[in-house]
Symmetry: C2
Subunit: 256 residues, 2 copies
């Protein structure tokens, strides 16, 4: 479990901390949902890397859990990381019972068969589909696979403060999609040492991606447009949201 | 997910409903934590049956999820069942935010690396240990592997009512151990058609069990003693707990 949560960008944890700060909630409180979403995300990577799923040897520049240990350890470590996420998000330090129950319930929905696992299932089904996925289908898949947890992390701040979630929901939607397009671009343009995981997998698998549909330049333009939309969605927060704007720029410019 | 939750004894869900009823809480409320613990238990069976774990073809008289579909489906269905458990246990119908957060948090601890997954990990480690496990080590392993969820289910009633959990904690401890001993006995004496899963696995794997330590008659006596202890722990509830006493008798007399 420690190995699986080591390294990484910790984008989702950052989004919790930063959207909490934006609503006047300190890191000593927000660290609980921030670590919860990182544990949940780490579980999804451990299971996603399994031989029966994406069969990856490298993650965050380190051997994957089933490579360093074995498959049973990877299944169990992932399972326990999911449990840990719900333990962390319901810690008494987070606040009222109502808030903790709401954070746990929304996290469960984002992680489950209507969110992340749905996206994963669609992704695996696409491998054996007779036709490559349309751009709309890829977008829908992404909204589950990576979008649901990014949205939960981004909404944690306003949820904890009981504030309007609409501006950050718009930011999260654009950010999540930009993130996935950047991932598809990195699979084409990145090298394994820098990205920290295998690259070139989509093309060699003949998988439909944002790059295969839009071309490399078209995908870069789309990612930049979405980055701009994400920044625009933050106008209500003024200069206070500049770090979140930087995060949107980072998401499309990142090398790993 | 539907296949994995089909059939079975539903002992854990029953324990939630019955201990809730004992504290004046109706089934329309208790059904939420009852279905939550059944979803969580079902997830653990789906992952436990995977080729990299116990590699079982049959569960509850039906093909296991990875046999009926494939391993990726089994990993994902299990993952989503765990998420679903936390969605169900935090349903607004359960009661106050404090109660829902408490049920979610205790469930996360019971399921995770200090509870069920710890027991599973010890069980897998035992397969390659140089010496067979001692009776104490098997007992500790069982308290995690099956004891933690049985205890959570049994304590759900008093927790929901804000009542003393001590009598039912004693009942659950004896019941959980009796349950595991009965499982070990069934592995020796049962046939696959009746039990609904493969039998004779422990002996052929040379695995230390309650039966290998105590002998068949000794294990039966121990299970009966524990059943009696479980019934005695209910004295404070009088005749109102007769159904829970019947459940303890069922656990040691069951054929599947």
């Amino acid at each position: 479990m420690a190995h699986a949560t080591d390294g990484g960008k910790r984008l989702r944890g950052f989004l919790v901390l930063e959207t909490a700060r934006l609503h006047g909630i300190g890191a000593e409180v927000a660290i609980w949902p921030a670590t919860a979403i990182e544990a949940l995300h780490a579980y999804s990577l451990v299971h996603d890397d399994l031989p029966c799923m994406d069969d990856d040897d490298l993650r965050r520049g380190l051997p994957t859990v089933h490579r360093k240990w074995d498959e049973a350890t990877a299944v169990l470590a992932g399972d326990a990381l999911q449990s840990l996420a719900f333990e962390l998000v319901t810690a008494p330090e987070v606040g009222s019972g109502d808030l903790r129950a709401k954070l746990a319930r929304t996290l469960a929905v984002a992680a489950g068969a209507q969110g992340m696992v749905l996206g994963q299932t669609l992704d695996i089904a696409a491998e054996t589909a007779p036709e490559p996925l349309s751009l709309d289908a890829i977008t829908a898949l992404q909204q589950g696979k990576t979008g649901a947890l990014i949205a939960w992390a981004t909404l944690a701040g306003p949820r904890m403060a009981g504030a309007d979630t609409a501006p950050l929901a718009a930011y999260a939607k654009a950010l999540g999609l930009a993130f996935q397009i950047a991932d598809d671009i990195l699979d084409v343009t990145g090298d394994t040492a820098t990205v920290g995981k295998a690259t070139g997998k989509d093309a060699s698998a003949g998988k439909a991606t944002f790059v295969s549909h839009l071309g490399l330049d078209g995908a870069k333009r789309r990612a930049n447009d979405l980055m701009q939309s994400a920044c625009d969605a933050l106008s209500v927060y003024g200069g206070d949201a500049d770090t979140l704007r930087d995060a949107a720029r980072f998401v499309v410019a990142r090398k790993n």
